[in-house]
């Protein structure tokens, strides 16, 4: 969740982490409250010699509030979580900021194929660069990706970006990310895709803008080829 467990390397990673933190605090309070009450009651009302239990049905109004008031507060907590969760969801999955570059991610048994534009920065032209299992992107650049699958369902997951999306055969799913840290990170396939699922690992290389243009220039197929 926090930076201390896994670093954040995309523009929305912090939003998702904050949501997780908010939920942790809210449910954490409830959790310790209920467990505390539970163990307190167990200790307080342990059987003692010659002492009968009390006859409490829970039907009286002043007793019912012990259930009804927490009920209301749980509902309020739920509403808070819903508002923040939908807000994060909207920003990450439902809205699509303008792209500075567009790539295609192709899942197949059992490799990732990455297709990205060459010097013209336009996808599906002659100078596109294809790589397998290694994706090179430029830092602080907003990318759109078109996610497709050639066979079964895969899932493109980059934990440091907090990015995850299933790849469905027969569909092209568009999403976005914006790296905020240079470095090399894991890409995992997160959906069972057959015998090679465990080796369907990729690496994403986030480069500075200068490094990335050098990489594009060095790897572009020769013009006119």
């Amino acid at each position: 969740m926090g930076d201390f467990i896994l670093q954040r390397a995309s523009s929305y990673a912090g939003d998702i982490d904050n949501l997780i933190l908010l939920i942790t605090v809210l449910v954490g309070v409830w959790f310790f409250l209920v467990e505390g009450m539970f163990f307190y009651l167990l200790w307080k009302f342990r059987a003692k010699d010659g002492q009968k239990g009390q006859y409490i049905t829970g039907k009286e109004k002043h007793l019912k509030r012990w259930i009804n008031i927490p009920h209301g507060i749980v509902l309020a907590c739920d509403v808070v979580i819903i508002v923040f969760a939908i807000n994060v969801w909207y920003n990450v999955k439902q809205s699509l900021p303008d792209a500075e570059s567009t790539i295609r991610v192709i899942g197949q048994q059992w490799a990732w194929i990455f297709q990205q534009p060459g010097a013209d920065n336009t996808l599906d032209t002659d100078d596109d660069i294809f790589t397998t299992d290694d994706l090179y992107v430029s830092n602080e650049t907003t990318y759109h990706f078109h996610l497709v699958s050639r066979d079964v369902i895969h899932d493109f997951s980059v934990p440091v970006f907090r990015l995850k999306q299933d790849a469905i055969p027969g569909r092209s799913i568009t999403g976005w990310f914006r790296p905020t840290q240079t470095g090399t990170f894991d890409v995992q396939c997160a959906e069972m895709c057959g015998i090679g699922h465990g080796v369907m690992s990729g690496r994403i290389h986030v480069q500075t803008a200068a490094e990335h243009s050098a990489w594009v220039a060095a790897n572009s197929p020769a013009a006119g080829e």
Partner: protein, 569 residues
């Protein structure tokens, strides 16, 4: 009215018994609900041992990748996938379902409602026989050429539908057939539970006099019957895709793979409550008995169970937030999913509130029941992270999910079962279990359970995905190896502690203290007959009548702190 029906069917049942099979056949070919319950119980236990062995093999592979696992050998990726797939399938369909619904439902519903047997005893027998065939089929599927099915227990097509992708042509089909047969078995059993509870109750037992556990099992059966239809339809479509080349889930021929996910989870989420409700029922019976307390709000529990059941039909797509559904749909399902936390939280509050003012005895069954509450809470609150769409983007399909649902399913299927089994053991076999061994088994299991799954929460938060047979392929995940070893060692400890249970089980069966009719001084009807109860449950002229609710403990007007349902005053 219901009395007449009971007395009548009772006469028939006795006839069948007198001319029925004798000797060993009596146990195999019986229509007695108690024997069928034991058949389900012990089949479930054997399947749990098989599922546990699978967990042992793949956890060893995760802690010590590539090394030979004692008792199995080196685990290949295909075998690994098959092990995790069948571990999940077996633990849910062949352990949780048969034990919690079929075994406890069969044993308890007639005994607790004062009936002499199920209303349809032969359908009941058929239910178990079909279940047994399905269990044999799922085990057999592991040994056919190509190996067992390895496409996860959710069986998403096209991986599950096309053998060129899964490479387990026979295994996939046998897995699917086994699951479908298992559903048939539980549909037959479910009909029985519902009809018996509705029609065959003892005279005087009104709706609110029914013990909660019977309500829970019947509500669960109704949920199962309403939700399983779409999945059976889906299973037939998937079987056609596999066997005769239709393309329901094949996008190249106009099909849609995501359709299966909807059909599967429309069943799959209510299924969680199908096993949860009986477990909560068992726990509530035990807590009321050993706290010597009237339940805090009988009706609240009943109604929250019904509300949970209804809501559970509107949450299924929270399993599919990032599975390619329209992103706008995620908002709807986030709302419904978080709302379902309200009735479940309320049920937990009521259970905790029941302890207030009690006189709590910490017997082994009570410890299990209390542990259910304490551990299930962890499973409950971690569900919020996954039901909220925004955080699910990151946590989906990680070990966080895995740890979350083991904190729900382990309390349900293992803790709940041990609670019920140790509580009703004196009734089932007429002997008491050893309390010291019981407590050693309890603490060993509970402590090691937490050491298995708490590390997995952290691995999940650290971005480790599920169903990967060797994390050495992922540089960012290598640092988590010590946590994987901790989980595996804890699992070995937990398996070792189960030996204590079996020693206790067999030594108590052989030489346990005699139980008597009502060793726990409980109120419900099953404690009014002998232990174990005779065929027909009560002598024909002593069928019980009911005068009050099941939880009249510590009543101020009585010297004794319990007041059985069948006492006239």
């Amino acid at each position: 009215m219901s009395h007449a029906v009971t007395a009548d069917s009772h006469g028939h049942a006795h006839d069948a018994h007198d001319h029925g099979p004798q000797g060993i056949l009596k146990y195999i070919w019986s229509t007695d609900h108690k024997i069928i319950a034991m058949q389900y119980m012990f089949t479930g236990m054997i399947m749990a041992l098989i599922g546990g062995f699978m967990a042992y093999v793949f956890r060893m592979q995760l802690a010590f990748p590539g090394q030979s696992v004692p008792g199995f050998g080196v685990v290949s990726p295909g075998e690994y996938n098959s092990l995790v797939t069948n571990h999940g399938s077996i633990m849910i369909f062949w352990v949780a379902m048969p034990v919690l619904i079929a075994a406890f439902g069969n044993y308890l519903i007639p005994l607790m409602t004062g009936a002499d047997d199920m209303v349809f005893p032969r359908i009941n027998r058929l239910s178990y026989q079909i279940f047994l065939i399905s269990a044999i089929l799922i085990i057999a599927s592991l040994f056919v050429s190509g190996g067992g099915f390895g496409g996860a227990w959710t069986a998403y097509p096209p991986l599950s539908s096309m053998s060129e992708y899964s490479l387990t042509k026979l295994g996939s089909s046998m897995w699917l057939l086994a699951v479908a047969l298992e559903f048939v078995a539980f549909l037959l059993g479910g009909i029985n539970f519902i009809v018996t509870l509705m029609n065959a109750r003892a005279p005087g037992m009104k709706a609110y006099d029914i013990p909660i556990v019977c309500w829970m099992i019947v509500i669960a059966s109704i949920l199962f019957m309403l939700s399983v239809g779409p999945l059976i339809a889906g299973a037939v479509m998937l079987l056609f895709d596999q066997m005769i080349g239709t393309g329901f889930f094949d996008p190249t021929r106009g099909g849609d793979p995501v359709l299966w996910q909807h059909l599967f989870w429309f069943f799959g989420h209510p299924e969680v409550y199908v096993v949860l409700l009986p477990a909560i029922g068992i726990v509530i019976e035990i807590i009321a008995t050993f706290a010597r307390k009237q339940l805090f709000g009988y009706k609240i529990i009943l109604y929250t169970a019904i509300v949970t059941g209804i809501l559970s039909f509107f949450v299924w797509a929270h399993h599919q937030f990032i599975a390619g559904i329209d992103p706008r749909m995620a908002n709807v399902f986030t709302v419904t999913t978080l709302l379902i936390s309200v009735p479940i939280a309320e049920m937990m509050f009521v259970t905790v509130a029941t302890l207030y003012g009690g006189s709590i005895r910490f017997t082994t069954p009570m410890l299990w029941a209390l542990a259910f509450v304490a551990e299930f809470l962890i499973g409950g609150v971690t569900g919020i992270f996954l039901g909220a769409s925004g955080s699910d983007i990151y946590l989906h399909d990680t070990y966080f999910v895995l740890a979350h649902f083991h904190y729900t399913f382990f309390p349900i299927a293992i803790i709940g079962t041990f609670a019920g089994f140790t509580y009703w053991f004196p009734k089932m076999f007429g002997k008491m279990m050893n309390e010291t061994l019981g407590k050693i088994h309890f603490w060993g299991t509970i402590i090691s359970f937490n050491f298995i799954f708490i590390p997995l929460f952290f691995l999940g938060i650290g971005g480790q995905h599920r169903r990967i047979y060797n994390y050495e392929n992922f540089p960012d995940l290598i640092a988590g190896q010590p946590l994987r070893v901790v989980a595996t060692v804890a699992m070995l400890a937990m398996l070792a502690f189960q030996v204590v249970f079996f020693i206790n089980l067999f030594s108590s069966l052989k030489s346990g203290k005699k139980a008597g009719n009502n060793p726990w001084k409980a109120n419900t009807l099953e404690w009014t007959t002998t232990s174990p109860p005779p065929h027909g449950n009560w002598p024909q002229d002593e069928m019980p009548k009911v005068y009050r609710g099941p939880y009249e403990y510590s009543h101020p007007d009585r010297d004794e702190d319990y007041w059985p349902q069948n006492l006239p005053s």
